[in-house]
Every structure is written in structure tokens, then in C-alpha cells.
């Protein structure tokens, strides 16, 4: 199989390459989304915990 034949896919390039592009693209997006979401969740929970800690500390001081 020559390189040119490979890229032209025997005349079916118009159909074959978009298929592979779309599949690989969507799979990568599916892979990446939960990675981003996990980072976001951990950051959000850390911020919330820091906020709650501060509030608890303030309450303790008021009580003194």
C-alpha cells in the first residue's frame, strides 16, 4: 500500500477519515471530561472546607 493510496483510501477518504476523526475526537473528549471534573470537585470541596473551618473558628472566638 503506497502512502498516497493510504491517504486517499481508494477513493473513500471523504467517508473513512471523518469517521475515524469523529470517533477518536469523541473518545478523547469522554476521557478528558471526568479528569477535569475530578480536579474541579476536589478544588470546590477544599474551598468549601476552608470556608467552613473559618466560620467555625469565628464562632469559637465569639463564644469566648
Amino acid at each position: 500500500m503506497t502512502l498516497q493510496h493510504f491517504f486517499s483510501m481508494g477513493g473513500y477518504a471523504r467517508y473513512v477519515w471523518p469517521c475515524y476523526g469523529l470517533v477518536i475526537g469523541l473518545l478523547l473528549v469522554n476521557w478528558w471530561l471526568p479528569l477535569r471534573r475530578k480536579r474541579y470537585i476536589i478544588k470546590m470541596l477544599a474551598r468549601r472546607m476552608a470556608y467552613l473551618d473559618k466560620e467555625a473558628l469565628a464562632k469559637e472566638r465569639q463564644g469566648e
Binding site: R37, K38, I42
Partner: protein, 245 residues
């Protein structure tokens, strides 16, 4: 044995076990995918009828296969959740749905891109294509229902029932090419019969099937871990985990 099953039901252990399997599944998926790409796009000979256009099957068949099996996974976990009320089963049903919808969408689009040169049309309202489209609507309907209801338990119950009702569509999709006279060709590989395609064409396809399956389980577990973190945010182990990262 029972303690193991009991542990599987606990979010903390689920989170840990999932984290242990994800790298292996990811590696399997990538290796098989690369082998499938090389084997399918370069090594396999062109089909004598369809030329190089047939190479679309290396992504079309695994997508279509996964679109059905993901639904079966969801049906199974929906049943478990309805009968035994195991929290983790709800998580699995919920996080599988977007993946199932992705595979169904890919199967439909790659199918129609194959259909244009081979059948002369992107779309026909034939039994296989129509029932697969209904499957896409089932996935989308499930996700919409699941996210629409405010109360989580209520949402889980209602959407689990929707999943179980939709199971009726699965045998229809699978046997549509046998029951009706359709444009879609019959199966070339099945569990019971000898495959009707040459080994050089078959092995990349099998590799792609493995790659897609491993991909599904890896990403499903990744999504499940996110969902567990959110649902268990008030428990101590999540707090410790957040503080150490």
C-alpha cells in the same frame, strides 16, 4: 466472599478499587486501539466489494456493539438498584448513560458515512437504523429524566424504571436484521458461529472491540469516582482525601 461483596457496596471501597483498575483498563484500551488502527487501516486488505470503504467497520461495529452492551450494563445495575437498593448501582447506571449515548451516536454517524458510498444514501428508515435511533433517544431520555427530578432517590427510581422498559428495544435492534428485510447486512461475527470474515480483517476488529470495552469501563469508573466524591462529600474519608491532595 460476602465481606468482599459487602465492601463493594461501600462508596469508600468502590472509590479505591475503581482507582486501582483504571490504569490497567486504560493501558489495555490504548494498546488494543493502536493495534486495531494499524491492522484495520494498513494491514488488512481492501474488501473485494467495498474497496477501502469497508475500513469504517473497525470503528462502526465496536461502537454499535458497545451501544447495546452499555445499555445492558445499565439495565443490570438498574435492576440491582431497584431490588436491593444498593447506592453504588445507581451511580453506575447514571455514569454509564452519557457513554452509551456517545457510542450510539458514533454508531449512527459512522454507519451513515458508510451508507452513503455503499447504499447511496446517508439514512433510510429501515428497522436496524430506526431501532438504533430509538436507543439514542432512550439514553437521552434517561439522562433528562434523571437530572430533571429534584429528589435523588425519586430520580433514581423513576429513571431506573425507564431503563428497564427500554430493554425491550435491545433484542429488537439485535434481531432486526433477521426479522425484517433490511438494507443493513447481517452479522459477520457472533459468539455461536464461525466468523465469516478473513482473519486478517477479523483480528483488528476484535482488538477494537476489546479497546472499546476497556475504554468504556475505564471512563465509566473515572466518572463513577467523581460521582462518589460528590455524593459522599460529607463523610470523613472524602474530607481526608481532599486535604491530602
Amino acid at each position: 466472599m460476602w465481606t468482599f461483596i459487602h465492601k463493594l457496596g461501600s462508596p469508600k471501597h468502590c472509590y479505591r478499587i475503581a482507582g486501582y483498575f483504571i490504569p490497567y483498563l486504560g493501558t489495555i484500551s490504548i494498546v488494543c486501539f493502536i493495534y486495531g488502527l494499524v491492522g484495520g487501516l494498513i494491514l488488512a486488505p481492501a474488501d473485494y466489494q467495498q474497496g477501502d470503504g469497508f475500513r469504517i467497520i473497525y470503528v462502526h461495529v465496536p461502537s454499535a456493539f458497545l451501544s447495546l452492551s452499555v445499555y445492558m450494563v445499565m439495565a443490570l445495575s438498574a435492576t440491582v438498584s431497584l431490588i436491593w437498593r444498593i447506592k453504588m448501582a445507581d451511580v453506575i447506571t447514571k455514569v454509564s448513560a452519557p457513554l452509551g449515548a456517545t457510542f450510539t451516536f458514533l454508531a449512527l454517524v459512522t454507519g451513515s458515512l458508510w451508507g452513503k458510498p455503499m447504499w447511496g444514501t446517508y439514512w433510510v428508515w429501515d428497522a436496524r437504523l430506526t431501532s438504533e435511533l430509538i436507543l439514542l433517544f432512550l439514553y437521552v431520555g434517561y439522562m433528562a429524566l434523571e437530572s430533571a427530578l429534584e429528589d435523588r432517590h425519586m430520580a433514581a427510581r423513576a429513571s431506573n424504571i425507564l431503563v428497564l422498559v427500554g430493554v425491550v428495544n435491545i433484542p429488537i435492534i439485535h434481531y432486526s436484521v433477521v426479522w425484517w428485510n433490511t438494507l443493513h447486512q447481517g452479522a459477520s461475527i457472533s459468539l455461536l458461529n464461525k466468523p465469516t470474515i478473513a482473519p486478517s480483517m477479523l483480528y483488528p476488529l476484535l482488538a477494537m472491540l476489546v479497546a472499546f470495552m476497556a475504554f468504556f469501563f475505564a471512563v465509566m469508573l473515572m466518572r463513577a469516582r467523581c460521582e462518589i466524591l460528590l455524593r459522599e462529600q460529607k463523610s470523613n474519608w472524602v474530607k481526608e482525601l481532599v486535604q491530602t491532595t
